[in-house]
C-alpha cells in the first residue's frame, strides 16, 4: 500500500584527500541526490587512517564503493565517473537495461 523507502547501507573507501577521492565523493553525492530514491547511510572510510577497516572488508583499491545492504553486497571500484555502472552497482539501473535489451 504505502511504499517503504528502501534503506541502503553504503561504504565508500577513499585514501586521504586525493583528487580521485574527492571526485568519487562528489559523483556519488550527485547520483544519490538525483537518481536514488531510497534512504541511505553512507560511511566514508579513509583507508589510510583506518587500514583495519579496509582489511576487514578486503578493500584492495581506492576509491571503492561498497553496497552492504540490501544484499547482495556489491563493490564498485573506481572514481564512480561511470554513472551507469554506479547505478547498476546499486541495483538501480538493472531493470532499465533489461527493458532496453527487450526493445532491441
Amino acid at each position: 500500500m504505502t511504499k517503504f523507502r528502501k534503506t541502503y547501507v553504503l561504504k565508500l573507501y577513499v585514501a586521504g584527500n586525493t583528487p580521485n577521492s574527492v571526485r568519487a565523493l562528489k559523483t556519488l553525492k550527485n547520483i544519490l541526490e538525483k537518481d536514488f530514491q531510497g534512504v541511505y547511510a553512507l560511511k566514508v572510510i579513509d583507508v589510510l587512517k583506518n587500514p583495519q577497516l579496509a582489511e576487514e572488508d578486503k578493500i584492495l583499491a581506492t576509491p571503492t564503493l561498497s553496497k552492504v545492504l540490501p544484499p547482495p553486497v556489491r563493490k564498485i571500484i573506481g572514481d564512480l565517473s561511470d554513472r551507469e555502472k554506479v547505478l547498476i552497482g546499486l541495483d538501480l539501473l538493472y531493470e532499465e537495461i533489461k527493458e532496453r535489451e527487450g526493445e532491441i
Binding site: 504505502t2 541526490e33 530514491q37 541511505y40 547511510a41 566514508v44 583506518n50 531493470e95 527493458e99
Partner: protein, 744 residues
C-alpha cells in the same frame, strides 16, 4: 273576477263578468276613492252575496257577506247588471265550466254546512283581493288582472332561482365547466333563446391543437347551449377577421358595455363583415354581455335568436348581466383554486424532495459513521498485528539475552526474529504515515511541487521499489512504455505521481496471486499522460466499485480479511490525482483482474522562463534532501544513530576522519552535522568555525554529541557556534525530536 256556473243551477257572478261582457269593454275607475267588488253565488237552495270595498288611500278593506235573498235582489237590481245577467250563460260558458272544476268539489251539499262554505268563500275573496292589489300597487291603470305580470313575476322568481343555484354551485366548488354549462342551459330555457354561447378570449390552443410547444392563444366559443338540435352548433367557432379588428369593442366590453341587437339586418352598428357572419351563423338577434374577471375581459356571454328578430327587454339584459357577474365570480374562484392547486402541488413536490434529501443525508451520515467504525476496526487490527509481533518477539529475545549467554536460539532464528520486529515496525510506521498523509491532503496541505521529469525514469523507479514484493508474490511486473523519447519529459509533482503509481501497482501486486502479472502501461495523449495499471488479480465486484475510492473503505470486512492495509491507499490516490486536476477510473471483472486508469494533465511549471540549469538546481533545492553528516569514530553509537536517522528518512553520511571532514562536508552540503565529541580529539572551536565559514551559504546546523555535558561546557560550546546538544543516553525519540526541530 270570474262568473261561473256551478253545476246547472249554480251561478257565480262578479262585476268583471258584467264589465267584460258588456259592449264598452273597459271601464276606467277613478284612481282615488273607494272601489267596490262583489261576488254573488246563486244556487237553487242557497244565495250569497259578498261585497268588498277597497279604500285606496288607507289600503284597507270592508267586507260584508249576506245570505238574505232580498238584499241580494236589491243589490242586483241596478239595470246594468240585470240586463247582462241573462247573457252570461251564453257568453261565459267556457269560463264557468272552468270554475266548475275548482269550486264544485268543495261546495257544501246542504245549507247546514254553512260555515264551511263561508270559509271557502273567504278564501276566494282573499285570493281575489290579492290579485287585484298587485296591479294597483304598480299604479297600473287597469283594474283587470294582467297575465304578463304573473309571467314577469314567474320570470323574476325563476331568474332568482337560477342565480341562487349558480351561487350555491360556486360555493360548493363544483367544476367550472359544469357550473357554466348548467347556467347557460337554464338561462337559455328561461329566456327562450335559440342559442346561448360563451365566447372565451385568449384560450390556449392546446385543447384544439395537440402541439404543446407553440401555445397559441385564440378567442373561441367554449360553451354552448341550444334550444334544439335544429339549430347549428357554433362550438369552437373562431373567427379572426371580423373580431380582431374590433379591439376598441373589447375596451367597451371591459367597461361593462352590453351589445343589444334586436335585428341583425337593420342594426346600423354592425359592419358588413359582421352582418355576413351573423347570416352565416343563422343569427337574427343577439345580446352580448361581457364577463369581466378581475378587471380583465375574460369572455362574452352571447344570446342568439336564430329565426326571428327579438326586442330585448331591459329585465332580460339585466338578468344576462347578472349571470355574467356570477359566472365571473365562479371563474375567478376557479382560477384561484387552480393556482392554489398548482402551488399545493409545487409545495408537495418540494417537501418530497427535501424529505428525500434529508433521508439521503441521513443515510450518508450513517454510512460515514459505519465507515469510521469499520475504519477503527481495521486500524486497530492493522496496528495490533505488528505490535503483537514486536512485543512478543522482542520479549523472547530479551528473555534469552538476559540468560547469560546461554541462548538456545540459533543466530539465524535470532536474526529472523529481529527482522520480523523491524518489518513490523516499518509496517506500523507506514500505516501511521498514511493516516497523517490523508489528513494532510484533506486539510489541503499538499500543494503540488511541479517539476519536469522523465516519465521513463519514474516508471523505472516505481517498478524498482515494488520489485521485491512482486518477486516474493511471484507476480510478473511488466512495463509497457509507449512514449517516444521526445515526449518523455512531463510536468507534475513527481513525488506525488510516484506515490499514485506505487499505490496502484503495489495494490495490483497485493491482490494478484502467484503466476499472475501486473502491467504498468504509460502513454501520452496531447497534454495528458495516461497511466494504466492492469492486474490479473481477484478483481472487484461491480457493486463494490463505487466504494472503491472511499476513505476508510476496505472491500473486505476486517474480520474476514485476507489482505492487509488500512483502506486509505485508493482514497489517497484519488485525492492526489484530483489535486493534479486529473481523473481515475477503474474497470474490473471479478476473478479476472482490474484495470486502473489515471489521466493526468501536463502541469504548468510556475517559473517557465528559468533556463534548464537553474531549473535543475531549483529542483535539487526543492526536493527535500535532508542530509546529515555524522562525524564519529565510535562504531556503536554511530551505527545506532545511522539506523535511527535512516528510519526517519534522513540521508546519513558517516565520516570517520576529522582531517578530511571539513573538505568533505563542504562537498556534501549537509543540513546538519553531528559531532561526536568523545571520539574526536579535536578542538571543537576550530572545527565549528571552519565548518560554518566553508558552508556559509547554507544554514548549517551543528550538533554536539556527548556522553555528558556540564552547564559551563554548554555555554562555552554555544559561543563556539554549536546549535544544540545530544546526550548519548537520551532516548531515541528525544534525539529525533531535537534533530527534526533543527532541520525544519
Amino acid at each position: 273576477m270570474t262568473a261561473k256556473m256551478v253545476g246547472q243551477e249554480a251561478l257565480l257572478v262578479t262585476e268583471k263578468n258584467l264589465l267584460t261582457s258588456s259592449k264598452d269593454t273597459e271601464i276606467h275607475l277613478e284612481k282615488d276613492g273607494p272601489q267596490e267588488q262583489f261576488r254573488l253565488l246563486i244556487m237553487p237552495q242557497f244565495k250569497a252575496l259578498l261585497i268588498g270595498i277597497i279604500n285606496r288611500e288607507n289600503t284597507d278593506y270592508q267586507v260584508s257577506i249576506t245570505f238574505d235573498s232580498d238584499a241580494i235582489a236589491i243589490r242586483l237590481s241596478c239595470p246594468e247588471i240585470s240586463t247582462q245577467l241573462s247573457q252570461i250563460n251564453k257568453h261565459k260558458q267556457a269560463e264557468i265550466e272552468n270554475l266548475q272544476q275548482t269550486i264544485l268539489p268543495s261546495l257544501p251539499q246542504d245549507r247546514n254546512n254553512l260555515s264551511q262554505f263561508i270559509a271557502q268563500l273567504l278564501h276566494i275573496l282573499t285570493t281575489d283581493n290579492l290579485a287585484t292589489d298587485i296591479p294597483a300597487a304598480n299604479d297600473y291603470p287597469h283594474f283587470c288582472y294582467d297575465q304578463s305580470v304573473e309571467k314577469i313575476l314567474h320570470h323574476q322568481l325563476e331568474q332568482q332561482r337560477i342565480l341562487d343555484r349558480v351561487k350555491i354551485q360556486i360555493s360548493q366548488h363544483l367544476d367550472l365547466l359544469e357550473i357554466i354549462q348548467m347556467a347557460i342551459e337554464q338561462v337559455l330555457r328561461l329566456l327562450e333563446l335559440d342559442r346561448l354561447v360563451i365566447y372565451q378570449l385568449d384560450v390556449p390552443l392546446e385543447s384544439v391543437d395537440s402541439d404543446p410547444v407553440s401555445v397559441q392563444q385564440i378567442d373561441t366559443v367554449t360553451y354552448e347551449a341550444r334550444a334544439s338540435d335544429d339549430i347549428s352548433s357554433i362550438l369552437y367557432f373562431h373567427d379572426e377577421i371580423c373580431f380582431t379588428r374590433a379591439s376598441q369593442c373589447k375596451n367597451k366590453y371591459r367597461q361593462g358595455f352590453s351589445l343589444i341587437v334586436n335585428d341583425v339586418e337593420t342594426n346600423p352598428n354592425l359592419t358588413s363583415c359582421l352582418q355576413d357572419l351573423m347570416r352565416r351563423l343563422q343569427i337574427k338577434a343577439k345580446l352580448v354581455t361581457p364577463i369581466i374577471v378581475r378587471d380583465k375581459l375574460w369572455g362574452l356571454i352571447i344570446a342568439h335568436q336564430c329565426f326571428d328578430p327579438r326586442d330585448w327587454q331591459q329585465s332580460e339584459i339585466r338578468f344576462l348581466h347578472q349571470i355574467a357577474e356570477y359566472l365571473a365570480i365562479a371563474i375567478y374562484q376557479n382560477e384561484s383554486y387552480q393556482q392554489l392547486q398548482v402551488q399545493k402541488k409545487l409545495l408537495e413536490k418540494q417537501v418530497k424532495t427535501r424529505a428525500k434529501q434529508l433521508k439521503d443525508a441521513l443515510i450518508a451520515a450513517q454510512v460515514a459513521n459505519q465507515s469510521k467504525h469499520e475504519f477503527i476496526g481495521n486500524m486497530s487490527h492493522e496496528l495490533r498485528t505488528p505490535l503483537t509481533c514486536i512485543i512478543g518477539l522482542s520479549g523472547t529475545l530479551l528473555h534469552w539475552s538476559s540468560a547469560n549467554g546461554k541462548i538456545p536460539l540459533s543466530i539465524e532464528k535470532q536474526q529472523q526474529y529481529l527482522k520480523t520486529i523491524q518489518d513490523s515496525g516499518k509496517q506500523l510506521l507506514a500505516l501511521i504515515n498514511s493516516i497523517l498523509e490523508i489528513s494532510d491532503v484533506e486539510a489541503g496541505k499538499y500543494l503540488l511541487d511541479v517539476t519536469e521529469f522523465s516519465l521513463h525514469k519514474l516508471a523505472q523507479s516505481v517498478l524498482q521499489t515494488v520489485r521485491e514484493e512482486a518477486q516474493k508474490q511471484q507476480v510478473d511486473l511488466i512495463l509497457e512504455f509507449q512514449i517516444q523519447p521526445e515526449q518523455d519529459l512531463f510536468c507534475a509533482d513527481r513525488e506525488r505521481l510516484q506515490e499514485i503509481l506505487l499505490n496502484l501497482v503495489s495494490n495490483g501486486i497485493k491482490f494478484t496471486s502467484e503466476g499472475g502479472q501486473v502491467i504498468l502501461r504509460i502513454w501520452r495523449e496531447q497534454q495528458q499522460a495516461i497511466f494504466e495499471i492492469e492486474d490479473t488479480g481477484i478483481g472487484i465486484a461491480q457493486q463494490q466499485l463505487p466504494f472503491l475510492f472511499e476513505k476508510f473503505k476496505q472491500l473486505e470486512n476486517f474480520r474476514q480479511r485476507t489482505h492487509n492495509g488500512a483502506g486509505l491507499g485508493l482514497a489517497l490516490t484519488k485525492q492526489l490525482v484530483e489535486l493534479h486536476g486529473g481523473g481515475i477510473q477503474v474497470e474490473s471483472a471479478l476473478g479476472k483482474g482490474s484495470t486502473f486508469t489515471v489521466h493526468l494533465p501536463n502541469q504548468e511549471i510556475l517559473q517557465p522562463d528559468l533556463n534548464e540549469e537553474v531549473a535543475i538546481s531549483e529542483l535539487a533545492k526543492t526536493k527535500v534532501v535532508r542530509n546529515i553528516v555524522l562525524l564519529a569514530q565510535d562504531e556503536e553509537i554511530a551505527t545506532f544513530i545511522c539506523q535511527m536517522l535512516t528510519a526517519a528518512d534522513y540521508q546519513v553520511i558517516w565520516l570517520l576522519d576529522i582531517s578530511t571532514a571539513i573538505a568533505q562536508v563542504q562537498l556534501l552540503e549537509p543540513d546538519l552535522v553531528i559531532l561526536d565529541r568523545d571520539s574526536l580529539d579535536i578542538d571543537i572551536q576550530i572545527l565549528s568555525q571552519n565548518l560554518k565559514e566553508m558552508v556559509s551559504k547554507k544554514q548549517l546546523k551543528l550538533i554536539l554529541l556527548s556522553e555528558q555535558l556540564t552547564d559551563n561546557e554548554r555555554q562555552y560550546f554555544s559561543e563556539q557556534g554549536i546549535d544544540d546538544y545530544l546526550l548519548k543516553l537520551m532516548k531515541p525519540t528525544y534525539l529525533l525530536e531535537k534533530i527534526n526541530s533543527l532541520i525544519t
